[in-house]
């Protein structure tokens, strides 16, 4: 085993990159900057980025909650529009109304399943308690949409709510005696 060869000397551009630039000459320094260029720009940006970190954590929580409330309330805005659409589409069984009812059910059910996912980004240890109320409202609103769908399905006659829907499970009453008829 021979010892490894020493590494080759770094190229010139690496050396230039690593060593700081020599101070510009006086003459060069006197050259004015091109219009629009600010040699201090980079510093200012750094200052601005530092600003939010400086804010208090309570404020962010309030903001998050406010945002969460907005998301929770948003589906309720669909309710009047959906109600009008459902009312208008009629109770007949057609592909259009069936699809509309399907969409009406699909939205809230997906929303309910993904409740936690929707509010996950607002969830911090400090907001968790307060988010419960928001989630409850969100669920209620989705349930309201579902209720609209159920009302529609009922109006279309698809819910087994009447006696006739259970008629097939009722059986004929049988006599204990049997009569035979021998008429001419």
């Amino acid at each position: 085993m021979s010892s490894p060869l020493p590494p080759p000397p770094p190229p010139q551009w690496v050396v230039a990159l690593n060593s700081p630039m020599p101070r510009p000459t006086k003459a060069a320094a006197s050259i004015p900057d091109p219009p629009g260029f600010s040699s201090r720009g980079g510093k200012q940006q750094k200052q601005q980025q530092k600003q939010p970190i400086e804010k208090k954590p309570e404020d962010t929580d309030t903001l998050k909650l406010k945002k969460a409330w907005e998301i929770a309330i948003a589906p309720s805005k669909q309710i009047p529009m959906n109600a009008i659409m459902m009312y208008m589409s009629g109770n007949s069984l057609q592909i259009f109304s069936i699809m509309m009812v399907f969409m009406l059910f699909k939205g809230p059910i997906q929303g309910l399943i993904g409740t936690n996912a929707v509010f996950a980004k607002f969830e911090t240890p400090s907001t968790r308690g307060r988010l419960m109320g928001v989630k409850a409202v969100y669920v209620l609103v989705q349930l309201g949409l579902l209720a609209l769908g159920i009302w529609k399905v009922n109006a279309m006659g698809l819910l087994p709510t009447t006696r006739s829907d259970w008629l097939a499970w009722e059986s004929e009453r049988l006599p204990l005696e049997r009569a035979y008829f021998a008429f001419r």
Binding site: L93, G157, T162, R163, S164, D165, L167, A168, E170, S171, E172, R173, L174, P175, L176, E177, R178, A179, Y180, F181, A182, F183, R184
Partner: protein
């Protein structure tokens, strides 16, 4: 639910529930029957002088006059000459070539019909007696309109006789000759110049003398009269063998009692010639018949046919016109077996056609040379008469002969080939039933065996059965390509035979015959058997068991017949008790019901009840515990008598126990298997009562009384599921009542309120003895255009299909199937239906129910004399088989909710197959191309 309702409405109200043109003769069949033809009044006739085509004309024992196409045996037209109230008499029919009319007589009526299309020319009624004989005058008088021949009619009354000459065009009497000497008016005969009236004068001691009265043709005045001393030979009028009509020398012939000699008198002369019969066979002569041509210009030759018990021969005689001497020309030899002879003439030549068991032979009357000889298929039925038509083409002759057989069948034999057979005895059908085809029977039997074995045993049995079935595999494979091909090419999309739509029907007739008809093949006769030699076979019921049918007769006897061959398997002896009905229970036990309603024996099932009707118009209920005295008796009130009673059919499945209303609540049906609908009539005060009885307790559940009912008109009733219908002729009794034929429909419900199952509510079963709630009945009446003689209801396998009320209409000779939704008694009265009601399929009530043309199951057919309509479910829920009999035979398939489970005719299998093939070809071509393209795409991407 609404979807169902929508489909339901579409199914019932759809206007297309009619029979299409291409379904005629495919799903239905019709035997237009005439009855057994009368041999003397059956003949070939050319209806128009312009054409050489001839038709077969006959009048039957039912007095139905008909013209039959000799080519295919189809009835071209028929007319029923029998009139209610007219004394019955044998039907007589006469016609002559070139005359455009045939003249028929039955009882007191004589009528003339156009020969070509059967339209009435004139009709005449003679109140002084029945028509005994008819002749058409051959010679046309100068000045008479061509094509019409005058008719000579002989009317035989009580001790009087009258000869009348009727005008051929109008039927008016031209002259009449009355004979009030008390002789039996026998026959009338004519020669070119004279009319001979032949009567039988009672001799002093016994027998009859033949009296011949010659009348002037034009005036009808008596010219001379003579009597032949024949009293020793003629004890009854039937003993006269022959009275020749319309030959140049008409004959009277009779034989002595011992069949040793025949005596012949040429009418117009007084001499009687005696012909000795040379009987060379060892057997006694059973029957002598004389055959002579009926045409005026034919040679005066005649043939005497002798029949013994096992053979027959014939002699041909010539009559000398000048001397009136009769001489024997030649003999047709003695041939074993049956033999019939028919006469036909072309111009002056006379031909005799002799049809025996094995051959048909034509000879000319002039010489014994055989002009034509053909082999004939042997028939098991004895022939008793034949008529023939000979066509001579140069030296060759062709013959077609209609042979009348004792079975009431007649067949046309053309040059030895049987062209068609008409089974006229079917007109007397009194009972019928469906049977399973043999293949199905075997399977049913095997399945039964499996059902009774243990699980392992049944499994082994099944494996064995399938192994046995493997022997049919090569055959099945061989047939497969042909089956596929034929199923693509045939008219019907699916061969429905395996779905039970072509079940055989077993028919029993009054004449003691049993027929098997194949409903899948236009009702063709598969076999027929003379089971009993009788003319009044009192069939009560036909019961089927696997492989056999048993016919029960009113005298207590029964005959069991093999379903596939018609052989009699067993008979039981008659009892001395006359029965009015026979009940066959599920355990193959039978109970006879006597005339007074009592039972012939006890029945084993103690929990069962039996309901019968008695001759004095009561309904009796019997219990299995005591078969001596009835448990209950129903006597209709106010002097009414029970005339008929019906119950729900044995197979009456109920698809839904409630009726769903428009608001989706449920009206529960009142379903009781033990219901009987009893029709009682008081003939004096013209009331009719319809009583709904419970067969177990005898309780009257519902009663409807109708005033002003005409009891002489047909009253029909039917019951099924939870509804019943009846029809009658009602007269006006008060301001609100309607006059006309009425049809009343009633539905039974548990309660008037929806969603209410009545007092028993959801109980699983109930005893009619303890508690039986009354039904809530909703009724509606309709005025219908014509009477209904018989009602039935279509039956389907599960009762899901809407039912049709099948009505036999005797006045329009048809069967109509009224859709049940039309007869819904919940139809709104005096207002339009609300949306909810419209969803149920209800529409506004209209008191007059006109039969829609689409409802007629018989469409344009003339199905006359129907007495019974039967319905049978098939394996297809949509389809019900219908069979009607009693006069004509008619069978069809009814699809009240359309054939929803069968591919329609517009479905093209060929198109489907071609599409699949095209797709497959496309895929095989495109798949490599697509694969290549995809691979190329991958290369290009990198």
């Amino acid at each position: 639910m609404r979807l169902q309702a929508a489909l339901f409405v579409a199914a019932c109200v759809s206007p297309a529930a009619a029979i299409y043109r291409d379904e005629v003769n495919h799903i239905d069949f019709h035997h237009a029957l005439l009855g057994a033809p009368s041999p003397d009044s059956t003949f070939f006739l050319k209806p128009s002088s312009a054409s050489n085509a001839s038709l077969l004309y006959t009048i039957s024992d039912k007095s139905i006059l008909g013209a039959v196409n000799p080519r295919d045996g189809a009835v071209l037209w028929r007319q029923n000459l029998s009139r209610a109230g007219s004394p019955a008499g044998a039907g007589i029919l006469r016609g002559s070539d070139g005359n455009n009319a045939v003249v028929g007589a039955a009882g007191q009526y004589i009528s003339s019909w156009t020969a070509q299309d059967g339209k009435l020319i004139w009709e005449n009624q003679f109140l002084d007696g029945v028509v005994a004989d008819l002749e058409l005058l051959e010679l046309e008088e100068a000045g008479a309109t061509s094509g019409t021949r005058d008719t000579l009619a002989l009317i035989s009354g009580e001790g009087t006789g009258a000869v009348r000459r009727l005008d051929g065009a109008s039927g008016e009497i031209k002259w009449e000759h009355k004979d009030e000497s008390g002789d039996v008016a026998f026959q009338v005969s004519s020669s070119p110049t004279e009319v001979f009236y032949i009567s039988l004068q009672s001799a002093l001691l016994k027998g009859y003398k033949i009296k011949v009265t010659a009348l002037d043709l034009v005036t009808g005045r008596q010219t001379r009269q003579y009597t032949l001393n024949s009293e020793n030979d003629i004890p009854t009028p039937e003993s006269v063998l022959f009275v020749g009509a319309n030959v140049a020398s008409p004959l009277i012939a009779w034989a002595d009692k011992t069949h040793k000699t025949i005596k012949v008198n040429v009418i117009g002369t007084k001499q009687v010639q005696t012909i000795n019969i040379e009987n060379t066979s060892d057997h006694e002569i059973r029957q002598i018949t004389i055959h002579a041509p009926h045409k005026l210009n034919s040679l005066p030759h005649f043939l005497v046919h002798y029949v013994t018990d096992n053979g027959a021969w014939a002699d041909v005689y010539h009559v000398d016109l000048k001397s009136s001497a009769v001489s024997k020309a030649y003999q047709l030899p003695y041939i074993q077996g049956q033999s019939v002879v028919a006469t036909s003439s072309i111009d002056a030549n006379v031909y005799f056609t002799r049809i025996t068991d094995s051959e048909a032979v034509i000879v000319s009357s002039a010489s014994h040379g055989i002009l034509g000889r053909w082999n004939v298929e042997t028939s098991s039925e004895a022939a008793f008469s034949a008529i023939s038509e000979v066509i001579a083409k140069g030296k060759n002759v062709a013959v077609r002969a209609a042979v009348l057989r004792e079975a009431g069948a007649w067949e046309l034999i053309r040059n030895g080939q049987t062209e068609w057979t008409r089974h006229e005895a079917l007109i007397d059908a009194v009972a019928a039933t469906w049977v399973e085809a043999e293949v199905q029977e075997n399977l049913v039997h095997e399945l039964e065996v499996e059902g009774h074995e243990s699980m392992v045993g049944a499994y082994l049995h099944r494996v064995k059965r399938h192994a046995r079935d493997l022997q049919y595999l090569p055959e099945w494979l061989k047939e497969l390509p042909q089956r596929i091909l034929s199923s693509i090419l045939t008219d019907e999309v699916t061969n429905l035979d395996s779905f039970g739509v072509s079940k055989p029907v077993i028919v029993a007739t009054k004449s003691g015959r049993v027929y098997a008809l194949n409903t899948g093949k236009q009702g063709s006769v598969m076999w027929n058997t003379q089971v009993e030699k009788t003319s009044e076979w009192d069939v009560k019921s036909i019961v089927t068991r696997p492989g056999e049918v048993t016919v029960y007769i009113g005298d207590g006897s029964s005959v069991t017949v093999n379903v596939s061959t018609g052989e009699v398997i067993s008979r039981s002896v008659p009892t001395d008790v006359k029965l009015q009905a026979i009940l066959s229970l599920e355990n193959q036990e039978t109970i006879g019901i006597k005339e007074d309603g009592s039972l012939t024996g006890a029945f084993a099932d103690a929990a069962a009840f039996l309901v019968t009707t008695s001759a004095d118009g009561h309904v009796l209920g019997w219990s299995g515990r005591d078969s001596k005295s009835p448990v209950w008796e129903f006597v209709p009130p106010s002097g009414q008598k029970v005339i008929s009673a019906t119950s729900r059919p044995a197979h009456d499945p109920v698809a839904s126990i409630g009726k769903v209303l428009g608001n989706r609540s449920v009206l529960y049906k009142y379903l009781n298997l033990n219901l009987a609908l009893v029709t009682a009539v008081n003939e004096k005060d013209h009331t009719a009562g319809f009583y709904l009885l419970d067969g177990v307790s005898g309780n009257v559940l519902y009663a409807a009384n109708q005033a002003g009912v005409d009891p002489s008109q047909p009253i029909a009733s039917v019951m099924t599921e939870n509804w019943f219908a009846y029809s009658f002729f009602g007269d006006v009794v008060d301001e609100s009542s309607a006059k006309g034929y009425q049809l009343v429909v009633s539905e039974l419900y548990e309660s008037s309120a929806p969603n209410d199952r009545g007092p028993l509510d959801a109980a699983g079963n109930y005893s009619a003895v303890d508690s039986l709630p009354l039904p809530h009945v909703i009724s509606q009446a309709f005025v219908i255009p014509e009477p209904i003689s018989q009602m039935a209801v279509t039956q389907t396998r599960q009762g899901i299909t809407t039912r049709q009320l099948l009505c036999a209409l005797p006045e329009s000779n048809s069967i109509v199937g009224i859709p049940r939704p039309v007869l819904d008694p919940r139809r709104p009265v005096d207002r339009d239906a609300t949306t909810a009601e419209a969803e149920e399929g209800l529409f506004r009530y209209a008191p007059f129910l006109e039969f829609d043309g689409k409802w007629y199951l018989t469409h344009s057919r003339d199905v006359s004399g129907i007495k019974t309509v039967l319905s049978e479910p098939t394996l297809l829920e949509s389809t019900s088989l219908i069979f009607a009999f009693g006069g004509d035979i008619f069978g069809t398939r009814a699809t009240p909710s359309q054939a929803f489970d069968v591919l329609g005719k517009s479905f093209s299998k060929l198109q489907l197959v071609l599409t699949v093939v095209a797709c497959a070809v496309g895929v095989t071509f495109l798949a490599p191309m697509a694969r290549k393209k995809q691979v190329n795409l991958l290369w290009k991407a990198n």
